[in-house]
C-alpha cells in the first residue's frame, strides 16, 4: 500500500469517539482526537487493530508517526516540547494549506 500523506504535511486527527457507539478497540489516544499535528514519517502498513482485536479480517492500513506540540495539547508545559504518536491513516484528515 502506498502512503497517501507525505512527511511534513499538517493533519488533523478525527474528532471521533467510537467508544460511545459500542465495543471497540482503538489505538488513537483520547488526548489527540480533534487535534492538529505534523506527519513526521511513514512507519509502514499494519493490519488494522480495530478489526484484529475482534478476530475479523484486518486489512493493512498505513501507520504514521505524527508530531504534536505539547503546549496546545495540554495548555501548559514548555513550548519547545513535543509528542510523537503512531496513528493509522483512517484517523487522519489532511489540512488544507493556510487552515489551522
Amino acid at each position: 500500500m502506498s502512503a497517501a500523506i507525505a512527511p511534513g504535511a499538517r493533519v488533523r486527527v478525527r474528532d471521533d469517539w467510537p467508544e460511545e457507539r459500542g465495543p471497540c478497540h482503538i489505538r488513537t489516544p483520547h488526548y489527540v482526537r480533534g487535534r492538529t499535528g505534523t506527519v513526521e514519517r511513514v512507519l509502514g502498513a499494519f493490519p488494522n487493530p480495530e478489526d484484529l482485536a475482534f478476530g475479523r479480517p484486518a486489512p493493512r492500513r498505513t501507520l504514521y508517526h505524527v508530531r504534536f506540540d505539547q503546549k496546545p495539547l495540554w495548555d501548559e508545559g514548555n513550548p519547545r516540547d513535543t509528542v510523537l504518536v503512531e496513528i493509522f491513516e483512517h484517523w487522519l484528515e489532511p489540512l488544507a494549506e493556510g487552515r489551522h
Partner: protein
C-alpha cells in the same frame, strides 16, 4: 489440608492452549521456546546496541534506520516481534518513551518492563508533564532542550539512543555498555560516568 483452588486464569489458559494444540495452531514446545526468548531478553541487550552505536558509525546508521536489523545483528531473535524503532537523542532533543494506552515496551531488547512503566501514574504523567516526571528521576534538562515524548500506541516498539557522555573517551564497548541503564534506554535517565 486441601490445596488452594487454582486461579481461574490458569484454567482458562490451559483450556486455550489445549484448544490451540488440538487444532495444530500452537504446540507446547513453541510456547516454551517463546518463553525462553522472552526470559533471555534484558536491558543488557539494548545497552550493548547503544555502546556499539557509540563506537561504530556504520552500526549507528543501521540502528537508526532499521532497529530490527540492528537487533538481529547483535544476535537477538526478532522473528515474531514487533518492529523496533530507535530514537536518537541530540544536544537539543531528548526522547522519553511511554505507552499511554497499555504497556507496549521493546521487550526483545529490554526484557520485561519495570512495574512503574505499566503504572497509571507514569502513563498519564509522562505524556502530560514530562519535565516533572524526569525531575523525579533526577533528570534535569535545560528549557532549551526539546523533550519529545514518544507514545508507543501501535505496532512499533521504541528504544532511546542516548548521547555518549563526556569522559568516556577511549572506553571499550563493554565498559560503555555498563553505564547504559534500562532507565536510560526508556529516557527517564541519562547515562552517567561513575
Amino acid at each position: 489440608m486441601a490445596a488452594p483452588p487454582r486461579p481461574e486464569s490458569v484454567e482458562l489458559l490451559e483450556k486455550l492452549v489445549a484448544a490451540l494444540s488440538a487444532r495444530g495452531i500452537l504446540t507446547e514446545e513453541e510456547i516454551a521456546e517463546r518463553q525462553a526468548i522472552t526470559d533471555r531478553a534484558s536491558p543488557e541487550t539494548g545497552a550493548r546496541m547503544v555502546a556499539k552505536a557509540w563506537t561504530d558509525p556504520a552500526y549507528r546508521a543501521l540502528l537508526l534506520s532499521d532497529g530490527t536489523a540492528a537487533a538481529e545483528a547483535m544476535g537477538v531473535t526478532m522473528a515474531g516481534a514487533p518492529p523496533l524503532g530507535v530514537l536518537e537523542d541530540t544536544p537539543t532533543r531528548h526522547h522519553l518513551v511511554v505507552c499511554t494506552l497499555c504497556s507496549c515496551y521493546p521487550r526483545a531488547v529490554l526484557g520485561y518492563p519495570p512495574h512503574w512503566y505499566k503504572s497509571a501514574a507514569y502513563r498519564a504523567r509522562a505524556v502530560r508533564d514530562p519535565r516533572g516526571v524526569l525531575a523525579e528521576w533526577g533528570t534535569h534538562l535545560p528549557d532549551s532542550v526539546e523533550i519529545r515524548v514518544v507514545d508507543s500506541t501501535a505496532d512499533y516498539r521504541w528504544m532511546v539512543l542516548p548521547m555518549r557522555p563526556a569522559g568516556t573517551e577511549g572506553w571499550s564497548e563493554e565498559r560503555l555498555a555498563s553505564i547504559v541503564t534500562r532507565d536510560a534506554l526508556v529516557g527517564v535517565a541519562l547515562p552517567r560516568v561513575p
